[in-house]
Subunit: 74 residues, 2 copies
Amino acid sequence: MINIKNDKVIKAFGRRLRDLRISNGLSQEQLANMAEIPLSQVGRIERGEVNPTLSTISVLATALNIQIIDLFLI
Amino acid sequence: MINIKNDKVIKAFGRRLRDLRISNGLSQEQLANMAEIPLSQVGRIERGEVNPTLSTISVLATALNIQIIDLFLI
């Protein structure tokens, strides 16, 4: 079910996450600790290498002190 | 990693998806066909029983002719 369009969505999400993490002055390790997910997963999500679940998206938003919707704003 | 808060997010997403599907006059089967995902998955997502991936969220938004962000607006 992952087609080219979804690949773009996943990569765009990763870039957005990375931008928000950096603008918050956080390292990948700090964000991973705050979201309670593996450090390697943060890197893979930011590079668009994995298809994150809504649950993971939610814990990342909470860790960044933002709403889920903010992760999809350009 | 799924805690009570995420469960609420997943259930809220399911309710939002159901509302948008119905307001578009679509059956679960029609939405499943348009999104090219199994009918049973649409029902489980709407009931908040599964944790959808970003890819699935994306195909559902495309099928409903909306942006991903619209699925997280209340």
